[in-house]
């Protein structure tokens, strides 16, 4: 069975981002970029399925400017077999990404598609579900456990009240939550080997998909800052402030 994994290049999660002074967006000049953490978990899950012998090929796809090939190479170093970059300078919305992925699914016919539940830049949490609607595939979102069985995948999901387990007919889509696994680091020999693994470059036009945005970002501003309050010296003072000043207890 083939697995398709989608990965996104985003600002590294350790970077404290800055909003541009003209409020046109977030300043991305000279900022460290990395693979979206949820996508790393997606790659790791695919590699583990291959190690278990239920998957025989892992295809990794990323979309964006040429630089996103770095993230594809990272996935290849972690154990993916070949890569597809869909090159575009357009800032892709989730719907466009899902439409492009649907075309790749049509071509490659994977048994499973694994994606991160959301990217840590746009925080949309949409792409996997949208791909499900376009392809008709079932989805197991926010997965904390994935078990393959005969013709189905059982996915345990992190929901607000606890955990929910669903059975999905293959082919299916899984989106990863944080506790699904702990991604490994790539070894140096594997990083070297990854440079020789195949990587196809395509464009949205090759797939006949219109990727023009549907939403217009009018402005991006910094959030309102909370002012630091006061330090109290004892529990008595704290209880007094909460009762008489804040009046919340």
């Amino acid at each position: 069975m083939k697995v398709l994994v989608a990965v996104k290049r985003v600002v590294d999660y350790n970077v404290k981002i800055r909003v541009k002074s003209d409020e046109s967006g977030v300043d991305l000049a000279n900022v460290k970029m990395a693979m979206n953490p949820f996508c790393e978990i997606a790659v790791e899950e695919a590699v583990r399925l291959k190690e278990k012998g239920v998957v025989d090929e892992i295809i990794v796809v990323s979309m964006g400017p040429k630089a996103c090939q770095e993230q594809i190479r990272t996935a290849l170093a972690l154990g993916a077999d070949r890569g597809i970059q869909i090159e575009t300078d357009e800032e892709l919305e989730s719907l466009a990404v899902a439409k492009l992925l649907a075309k790749v699914v049509e071509e490659e016919q994977p048994g499973l598609v694994v994606l991160g539940k959301q990217s840590i830049d746009s925080d949309n949490n949409q792409t996997g579900q949208m791909l499900g609607a376009i392809t008709g595939m079932p989805q197991g979102t926010f997965a904390s456990e994935v078990n393959m069985a005969d013709g189905v995948v059982e996915v345990t999901r992190e929901i607000d009240g606890g955990l929910q387990t669903l059975s999905l007919k293959l082919p299916a889509i899984v989106t990863t939550d944080l506790r699904l696994n702990e991604p490994r680091y790539a070894s140096l020999p594997n990083i070297m080997k990854a440079k020789r693994k195949p990587l196809d470059v395509k464009t949205p036009a090759d797939y006949g998909v219109d990727v023009s945005p549907r939403l217009k970002t009018l402005k991006v501003e910094a959030p309102a800052q909370r002012e630091a309050g006061i330090l109290v010296s004892s529990v008595d003072e704290l209880v007094d402030k909460l009762k008489n000043e804040a009046k919340v207890i």
Partner: protein
């Protein structure tokens, strides 16, 4: 304009998140219908009919909507969407699960997690874990929106709408429910609690959370945790407050032994009053706290419990 709000409910009980979502719909303006879809959910539909500002409640009661399976529910909502300019659901794990399927089926963008309504087509939403706020405008014919419930005060429940049963049955037949393990608690839910007391890595182990539970019992509070405490295995993930857990905005949030990582702050910084108890006076949590107490939590939490009487 007409707006369809998808209700969140469980075991016949309408969840509060629905009230916040109706409030967002009221700000957009227009006739508001509420869809209650599920199995054996008539009681939830009766509750939805009492929400102020609701014009009509649509009740789709069928086994295929049990457990809100995204594949089936999204087909139903997509079918109903023809009569509406806006479709809203709370940005809970349920809303986040099925709504993007609706948007893609309609070939429109989804606007996730809105925190304010600027106009009928323009909304504010947090990006980068709340470190930036984007104002976005949608040009699509139908606006598919998930609502961050902490951004909107709950709608009142003084309405008297009619309930209309709809017979539509959509079973995609590709997914089925196996089991669930839901946390059981007599305390209020994190996302609707008026007071929350949360513990972090400083709690040292899971047993020590009982100290917080005793304070919570006195305050009628919910008990939460930071991701560090969850990752360390002290408590289950459904207690997690933060960007990757639940987003909360109670009247009072008491952070105990929590350093205040950006990830955690993103989930609670809209609380009305924040109290921080931490022995490290350099902890970033003090920068957002209204009242800070630099002390050993193992000394002051039992004292707090006692002084709350």
């Amino acid at each position: 304009m007409a707006i369809l709000v998808i209700a969140e409910h469980e075991h016949g009980v309408l969840k509060d998140a629905t009230l916040n979502t109706v409030a967002a719909a009221q700000q957009i303006g227009g006739d508001i219908d509420v869809l209650v879809a599920g199995s054996d959910c008539g009681a939830a539909a009766e509750s939805a009919a009492k929400v102020s500002g609701v014009n009509k409640v649509l009740l789709a009661d069928a086994e295929c909507y049990n457990h809100q399976l995204a594949e089936n529910l999204s087909l139903l909502v997509t079918e109903l969407s023809a009569s509406y300019s806006h479709i809203l659901a709370p940005a809970t794990t349920t809303g986040k699960n099925f709504m993007p399927r609706v948007a893609a089926a309609l070939d429109v963008a989804q606007i996730s997690d809105i925190i304010t309504v600027e106009s009928a087509d323009t909304f504010k939403r947090p990006i980068y874990a709340g470190n930036a706020i984007a104002t976005v405008q949608s040009g699509d014919s139908v606006k598919v929106i998930t609502v961050r419930t902490t951004g909107f005060d709950a709608a009142a429940t003084e309405g008297n709408a009619t309930v209309e049963a709809i017979g539509a049955v959509h079973d995609a037949g590709v997914s089925s429910f196996v089991k669930e393990a839901l946390a059981k608690s007599d305390r209020p839910e994190l996302t609707s609690a008026r007071v929350i007391i949360s513990g972090g890595r400083g709690m040292a182990n899971g047993e020590n959370f009982q100290m917080l539970e005793r304070v919570a019992d006195k305050l009628g509070a919910a008990v939460g945790a930071s991701r560090a405490a969850v990752d360390a295995g002290f408590v289950p993930n459904d207690m997690q407050v933060g960007q990757t857990g639940k987003i909360v905005a109670p009247e009072l949030y008491i952070a105990v032994g929590i350093s205040g990582a950006i990830q955690h702050l993103a989930g609670m910084k809209d609380s009305k009053y924040i109290v921080a108890i931490n022995k490290d006076e350099e902890a970033p949590i003090f920068q957002v706290a209204d009242y800070g107490l630099v002390a050993d939590l193992f000394d002051v939490v039992p004292e707090l419990e006692q002084k709350l009487g």
